[in-house]
Amino acid sequence: MNKKKKQFNFLFYVIKRLLMIVLLFFLISTAVFFMLSFTPGDPVILMLGLEASTEQVEELREELGLNDPLLVQYWNFMKDTFLKGDLGYSYRLRTPVINEIARTLPVSASLAILAIIVSSFIAIFLGTFSAIKQYSFLDEFTKVFVLAGVSMPSFWLGLMLILIFSVKLGLFPAGGWGGGWKYYVLPVLALATNPLAVTARLSRSTMLEVIRQDFIITCRAKGLHESSVIFKHALRNAAIPVYTLIGLRFGNLLTGAVVTETIFGIPGLGRLTISAVYSRDYVLIRGCILTIALIFAIINLIVDLTCPLLDPRTKPNY
């Protein structure tokens, strides 16, 4: 296959995947819209309180378009979402949902990206060295750490971090946001621990497999230095599954973000979602869920597209 055709195929593949995401987003929007429209409770009464007069309620219902037939509401919602990128007005906050998301998303994203970076690097380090020196102290430490990391609920871990590092030692603030790097340390630790444990286990088992393969023996036989064998040849192969599963772990990370943001009082997307559920603010819930599903889909697409850079053997099916 010549180069030009290859590039064309790649482009075609990317477009196909992007169209799939649009279709998926369409289906999710539809499902979320109808699911939430069948929920009990009148959002207008929730907004105005029980003592609101009938006229007030009627007026607001009319204003929000809640008196329209469901299918008209659906049509308006889809039109606004897809053509204008407008996710509607939050019932409770009385602000456009898109503004709330734009305000909270960067906070969550910075936490998530830091947690992914921290956890991936430490995990690959731990996994690699415990595989090279199997049954050593480091290996046993990694095993214990992995078990503890996957067994501790993240909300409890967060609270214990607060208890130790802010209540007892007074090193970091117990919560809050926007005062520099000190506010990042505990949330990132709480967020990174679970993915760190899962990734360390994965990279250890992959590394154990890789270093027994023939090409590693070849590397050693031709007299390469051990560090070069491990870091140039083995590590690259062991890093592949770690990278491809980032997408999957990102889902867990979003779960962790809800909990971590709640515990540390961080104004992120996770806490926004939870507060929307508490206040039964359906427009806001819808906006948050749609945003999260979209981000999740895009992350998975990016991972799939960039994977061949790391491992030329894995060609996407184009």
Partner: protein, 273 residues
């Protein structure tokens, strides 16, 4: 044979012992609890661990030890319910769509992909937002979120199994589809199902507790560990035992189940080691 191999795995045995111990606590909690877990006693509220209340009391003066004991039952029940329901539904869907293929397979698997398009936990939050917060609804939400992973694994294993000669032999002898699935395919799935299910119990216990912690699962005054943790959160500065104790029990329970799961995986599927 199975037991012989499993027995050699010391950490799995440790996990099993801890798990059985906690299960006994859960079953016999009404007999061994020193107090009524729901009885409020405001005179004795917020006590640190002492001789009367071994693990102290909470903000309503309820005995923490008794609440922990009762909570064990709720936690086990929630975890098992989620996994049993998810396994029943997931296995059925997986076996049938793997064996029959065709349109049914396409519809089921596309729906599973659709469920997987949401990050697991947000699907649960969405379901709780629709049904309203309660322990039952949290269990339903986590169950729905767990079905796709089981269905997918079971389906792909079934796809491999159905091509084997003995299935063909059975077909040639005139067995019905249902009979083949029930007698020949499902027994071969037991291994992977047990492994997935054990890890799944650990996961779903954490998920249910997380929902309860966020106020979307068990509601007060239920003695559920996640909820107890969230109630203790307000007193973390003055009475840290209220958050430490339920978390320690939760972690130990999940840890013991994970140890059993690892042991089972090594025993049933040595290749994965």
């Amino acid at each position: 044979m199975f037991w012989k191999r499993f027995k050699r795995n010391k950490s799995a045995i440790l996990g099993l012992v801890i798990c059985i111990l906690l299960l006994f606590i859960a079953i016999f909690s009404p007999l061994i609890s020193p107090y009524d877990p729901y009885e409020q006693n405001l005179i004795e509220k917020l006590q640190s661990p002492n001789s009367n209340h071994k693990l102290g009391t909470d903000a309503y003066g309820r005995d923490m030890l008794s609440r922990i004991f009762y909570g064990a039952g709720i936690t086990f029940l929630a975890g098992f319910l989620v996994i049993i329901l998810a396994l029943l539904i997931g296995t059925t869907l997986g076996v049938v769509s793997g064996y029959w293929g065709g349109l049914f397979d396409t519809i089921i698997m596309r729906s599973m992909d659709f469920l997987l398009a949401f990050p697991y936990f947000f699907l649960a939050i969405l379901i709780v937002a629709i049904l309203g917060p309660s322990l039952t609804n949290a269990i339903i939400a986590i169950t729905i979120g767990s079905i796709p992973q089981f269905a997918r694994v079971v389906r792909s294993t079934t796809l491999g199994l159905k091509e084997l000669p003995y299935i063909e032999a059975s077909k040639a002898m005139g067995s019905s589809d249902i009979r083949i699935m029930w007698e020949h395919i499902i027994p071969n799935l037991i291994g992977p199902i047990i492994v997935l299910g054990t890890v799944g119990i650990a996961q779903s216990i954490i998920q249910v507790a997380t929902l309860s912690f966020l106020g979307m699962g068990a509601q007060p005054p239920i003695a559920e560990w996640g909820l107890m943790l969230s109630e203790g959160r307000n007193y973390i500065f003055s009475h840290p035992h209220l958050t430490m104790v339920p978390g320690i029990f939760l972690s130990i329970l999940v840890l013991s189940i994970n140890l059993i799961g690892d042991g089972l995986r090594d025993t049933l599927d040595p290749r994965l080691k």
